[in-house]
């Protein structure tokens, strides 16, 4: 048996690095494994925000983070989904709500009932059968009891620097040793990192290195066989602008994603401001021109703090090489269209925890980790790409190109099967589940041509009753949900009460 892992070093910055360190602290440090962070210079600007999916709550639970702190310290706003507008010509916007798998109706998937209803003249739009979408439109936070049959969850818009600081503080307090520095050199023998040499001359050695350095890929980028497979041919946007605008009042319960001539613009409500993101094709428009158009496109004044950067999307051919494991954007990167950035980070971390190497020698876990991360990446890419593929903005070269370009076979199959039967064939390691894909496809105007023939066995009266009951259930549940401002105030009160009790 080879020697066990004794020392893990996380190299990176910001949320990914501290998320990794916090998870390692919680799990493996109990087994006597030392965890250290080499903290590289931050990549964050004051305007940066995270827009995270509801699954982040599970991660917070595992690392023992009190979520009330997000609302009192990180300017957090809970959001029930994302509203997509201007993606489809004159079609009204739709909301991709964060629903949990809805219960069946008359023993079948509710969507199948809806499809038949639609074919027979039902006028109620699909999103009205989404608890999260209805909550989002009503400005409510889906914080219903988790054991309810119909259930939705909320995601988070967070101030990135404050979130990172919160994680950092908790992790360091928990006993993780950290060192601030920059990398002067990485000493590699074969496919193993022997040491990371810092600018002050310190040689940092470890049995396992976690690359949480984001798009810098400070370690994995130097490893053999870990070059990036670019997805530029599928995803044409290559520039990203971040800025901020005034806070919205009242706070909406969703983020807004609007397509425009050369890409899309996202508005992410925070307590103290609105984070603005524009993602576009730099071949179609210049940064200056975009900045000029931005207030009109965002329909609000934009602060003078805009920052533009290159955006490259793709996946590393290997995310784990020798004793170096990449997580988050060091492993693969996508534009923030669907809010999966932090999800990618904690999904990678959780796979690493599951496959935490048994020895410091051969790392037989690497190929399985690579396969999992690649599946995750491809599934997310396809979800994102579907927005572009299904656009109905005609007579604009960028959007016509997106619509006409072939898509990878993995996405084409989902599109074909959904068109044929209203069903979504899921793969392993999907971030988004059937209800998410359905919302995306139907929202962008893709209508299934047929439904499960078992629906025909349901008598018409019962069919109508099932549909009506679902609408009523949703209305009732949403009425009981707190508005966004009340929810935030409640979280804050909760914390005040706890502090008083402690004091």
């Amino acid at each position: 048996m080879t020697r066990r892992i004794q020392q893990v070093v996380v190299v990176g910055a910001d949320a990914p690095a501290w998320m990794a360190a916090a998870a390692l602290l919680r799990s493996v440090s109990g087994a006597g494994i030392r965890v250290r962070v080499v903290e590289l210079p931050t990549l964050l600007q004051p305007v940066d925000a995270h827009s995270a999916l509801p699954e982040l709550a599970g991660f917070h639970h595992r690392i023992g983070l009190d979520e009330d702190l997000l609302f009192s310290l990180c300017k957090a706003v809970p959001v029930a989904g994302r509203r997509f507008s201007n993606w489809s010509g004159a079609a009204p916007p739709f909301i991709h709500g964060y629903d949990r798998a809805p219960p069946p109706a008359a023993g079948l998937g509710f969507t199948q009932l809806w499809i038949k209803g639609r074919q027979n003249g039902l006028r109620t739009d699909f999103e009205n059968f989404s608890l999260a979408s209805v909550a989002a439109k009503a400005g409510r936070v889906p914080a219903a009891p988790k054991d309810a049959e119909l259930h939705a969850a909320f995601g988070y818009n967070l101030d990135a620097a404050a979130y990172s600081a919160l994680l950092r503080q908790g992790t360091i307090r928990g006993g993780v040793d950290s060192k601030v520095g920059t990398i002067a050199d990485v000493e590699i023998e074969g496919d193993r990192i022997v040491s990371v040499i810092l600018d002050d001359g310190e040689r940092v050695e470890a049995d396992l290195f976690v690359d949480a350095s984001g798009p810098r890929a400070a370690l994995i980028g130097r490893m053999p066989g870990a070059d990036v497979e670019s997805w530029r041919e599928w995803l044409p946007c290559d520039r990203m602008l971040v800025a901020s605008a005034k806070a919205l009042k009242p706070l909406p319960a969703f983020s807004q994603i609007s397509a425009f001539r050369h890409g899309w613009i996202g508005l992410f409500p925070l307590q103290d401001r609105t984070a603005v993101v524009a993602v576009y094709d730099g071949r179609e428009t210049s940064d200056e021109a975009l900045l000029e158009d931005l207030p009109a496109l965002a329909k609000m004044p934009i602060g003078g703090d805009a920052i533009v950067s290159d955006l490259s999307q793709g996946v590393r051919r290997r995310a784990w090489v020798g004793n170096c494991v990449a997580i988050g954007e060091s492993a693969f990167s996508l534009e923030p269209l669907d809010g999966a950035q932090l999800h990618i980070v904690h999904y990678c971390i959780s796979q690493l925890m599951t496959l935490f190497p048994v020895g410091a020698g051969a790392f037989p876990e690497a190929p399985l980790y690579d396969r999992i991360i690649r599946r995750l990446a491809v599934n997310l890419r396809d979800f994102q790409l579907a927005h572009y593929k299904l656009n109905r903005r005609f007579d604009m070269p960028f959007w016509d190109g997106c619509r006409d370009a072939p898509v990878p076979e993995t996405l084409q199959r989902k599109l074909d099967v959904f068109t044929a039967r209203g069903r979504v064939p899921l793969n392993d390691d999907e971030t988004f589940q059937e209800q998410d894909w359905e919302s995306l496809f139907i929202g962008h105007g893709l209508m299934p041509q047929s439904y499960d023939p078992r629906v025909d066995a349901i008598p018409e009266q019962e069919h109508i009753a099932q549909v009506q009951a679902r609408l009523n259930d949703i209305v009732g549940l949403v009425e009981a949900m707190p508005p966004v401002d009340a929810f935030i105030a409640g979280a804050d009160d909760q914390r005040q009460t706890e502090m008083t009790a402690l004091g």
Binding site: G30, F356, V358, E365, L368, A420, R423, Y451, D452, A457
Partner: protein, 506 residues
Amino acid sequence: MQQVKDVVVVGGGTAGWMAAAALAKVLGTQAHTITLVESEEIGTVGVGEATIPPIMQYNKLLGIDEDEFVRETNATFKLGIEFIDWRKRGSTYFHPFGVFGANIKGGVGFMNYWLRWVQSGGDPDYTHFIAEGVAAGEGRFARVPPSSDGQLPRLNYAYQFDAATYAAYLRRYAERRGAVRHEGKVVDVEQNSETGYIEAIKLADGRRVSGDFFIDCSGFRGLLIEGVFKAGFDDWSHWLPNNRAVAVPCERIEDPTPFTRSTAREAGWQWRIPLQHRTGNGYVFCDSYLSEDEASRLLLERLDGKPLADPKILRFTAGKRRLGWVKNCLAVGLSSGFLEPLESTSIHLIQIAIMKLFEFFPQRDVNPVLIDLYNREMDVLYDHVRDFIIAHYKVTDRDDTPYWRYCRSMTVPDSLAAKLELFSDRGETRWMPSDLFGETSWFAVLYGQGLIPRSYHPVANALSEDELELAVAGIRTAIRRRVDALPSHADFIEGCCAARPAATAA
């Protein structure tokens, strides 16, 4: 093409009647017709049949009353499979349905803690940590929900039944719901000259049965799927060389065990499936290593009760039909492929084909996109089951006969080789979340066959020795309490679902 209204099932037997019963229930016979054609001249393969727990879903679809079903099919309950002489002569292990151990606070799978515990001197028989394994060992059984406080494990089970009475039971079910049976042999098939779709089959007596959709349950030969559509066959006999089985029922000599037994033999393995009224037996072997006569003689010699019939020989080739669904024809059962019954998957493969058919059932035109998806999804399932079965042969210490020397040294599919490597490194068994055989199954079989992981998840070391001992003892106590409260398997059957004398005579 018109709306799919008339569905024709070609072939009876387990597959045919499972399909017809489900069609009659789900589609009904108001808007559809369900016709099954079978010939009494053509025997069915059905012998004593063991199943796995997902069969509950099929029974639930049909709304079958479990007690009635058990009575009518002479069924017994099954908690797993006992494997004898597989790792080496004299060895025994149990593959239980159910969950290995219980969650231990700290986050990694129980098997990691257990491996640590064994490395420090604990009892290496994992069966003590699986409730189904302990209950099986003591011949106990009852249907139990998880305890209300969540402290006691549940019991997962399936059935062992008489396949002939099962088919007869489903036939009654289907006919009551309006399915129509025709006796007769298919002699000709009519296809649409343009589309190639099957339009009708002709029977020996001249009758013509037309339909919109055809389900081929004709067995190995694949009358429609291969005979008409030449769907092709992936031959897997280099990995699974067994190509014969000899089967014979014998008198029951003791209360039926709540498990199936599989005993490795010189050129294959012998099954023993206890039913209420008799015991099903068979020897699955490869005829390159053992003749049919010799296998029959050895099987008869090794029965534990008086034989009740002449041994029946079955011939097959392991493999999968390349396409299980072509145009308006779906192959279900042996026409779609054959994997030996080592892990009791035959009925499961039938059931999944039927369930998927409903999901993809054509409204009007048969959509190539849905056919393609069906075929892909079935491929994934077949490959997974195939790998799991191959693992039993590849991972063994047996080298006492040419047959076992072949199995031990054969190359296995890359997908399996990768699994074996990671398992031997660290006991990892979480391959794909959607797999039929999950963590406990892979662990039980690979460990039982003699692949002992060199290491385990480091987090398992986070518990102190006292905490580990306490956790281990707590799980054993919970299992003990669960099993102590169970009646014997025979008493349980007597209490709820003993076969009627008429069925017993069947």
